[in-house]
Symmetry: C2
DNA sequence: GCCGCTTGAGAACGACCGTTCTCCACATTA
DNA sequence: TAATGTGGAGAACGGTCGTTCTCAAGCGGC
């Protein structure tokens, strides 16, 4: 029954992820996840011992998928020029904001909803933020900018801000504004790593 | 009893505002607001016919206070140079982030929590966003920048991003990152309006 | 066939929440 | 004093949610 359980875990995570992201964590009950995943409540609780644990798993899964999609997109935009690779991050955001069902950043949303009560969820959000920051820093360092840390911090503000603005205004334009701004604070173009 | 009711409305709004902002809207029940405001439940519901109405009043009140504080701060930084006035917005954010009890933007928090279910709350959030944008646009237009709308859009992304980053990282530094970035996209300094 | 185990379906439990209702103390007016 | 109305305290109601429990059906081993 191990394979069975593994399959159930995946179905539960898939269903919970869809529901959590679309309707919010608090708005989705375990019953609804059970219905969507097509498992019994008992099995659900054997896969994830509590809603808290399921929420954390949802966030870790989203982190993996999102960062994977981002890295893949940036790698696909392989003009090779480091500056373009940084800007491609905002192109990816622009694509994401236009996806049907986009409802803001899963991590800031979750942090707002349950970050105060769930230490596990808050930790998952922080881990994601750190991971995105590290990824961005690598891209930025390759541009040969004099202070990569400072530029990374500024780009993270642009990244988060475009997400927030896009979610509230239901527009993908904030990705463009962020991209334009990032272009202004990156070195114009000379050397690659 | 009209003065009585007015005083009760104020006490309720004050108590609800504190609780909503600190603990989140969904986490605070009407009973708790009643206790904190020291009024009966009956009176509470005579002042605000539903929680939804109270949430909207809370947001409109916060909008008034926040924009008032921001305008006052910027006016106080009256070096007269328009560019400095725009940057003062981010100094004000830096001050706000350091206030005890800062817990992110009341509006994006509320939008995340109840924006999907409460049209009144969502409208209040949009009104606030629009008002901040208009205020910022006036400051930016005074700098004589060639395209004030574009710069405003970019500064709004910086504004929202620093709020989000500060809330999640419990740090006031994102205000500095946003300020540095804004400084890079504003005209260096020549004419005032 | 019979026993023990696991499973699924869903009822049940306790807690909370938004809102309404009951009840009684009190004040006002005649 | 009696009638009337008002307000407060908090119980009550209907609903939801996270979690646990019941119960019967199914299945493998003897």
């Amino acid at each position: 029954m191990d394979a069975d359980n593994e399959a159930a875990r995946e179905r539960v995570l898939e269903a919970a992820g869809e529901l959590f992201y679309t309707h919010g964590i608090r708005a989705v009950g375990m019953d609804r996840i059970r219905d969507a995943a097509g498992v019994s409540l008992k099995r659900l609780y054997r896969c994830y011992a509590s809603k808290d644990e399921l929420v954390e798993a949802y966030l870790r899964d989203r982190d993996r998928r999102l960062r994977g999609a981002l890295a893949e997109y940036v790698a696909g935009e392989a003009t090779g020029r480091p500056r373009e690779r940084v800007l491609a991050v905002f192109d990816w955001l622009h694509w994401w904001f236009g996806e049907p069902g986009f409802r803001g950043c899963p991590f800031t949303n979750a942090f707002n909803e349950v970050g105060a009560e769930s230490a596990r969820a808050a930790a998952a959000v922080h881990d994601h933020q750190r991971a995105v920051g590290a990824y961005l820093r690598d891209l930025i360092a390759a541009t040969g900018t004099p202070d990569p840390d400072a530029v990374t911090n500024r780009c993270l503000v642009l990244y988060a801000g475009s997400l927030t603005c896009a979610a509230i205004s239901h527009s993908r334009a904030p990705a463009l504004y962020a991209r334009e701004t990032a272009a202004a604070i990156l070195p114009s173009d000379e050397r690659a790593a």
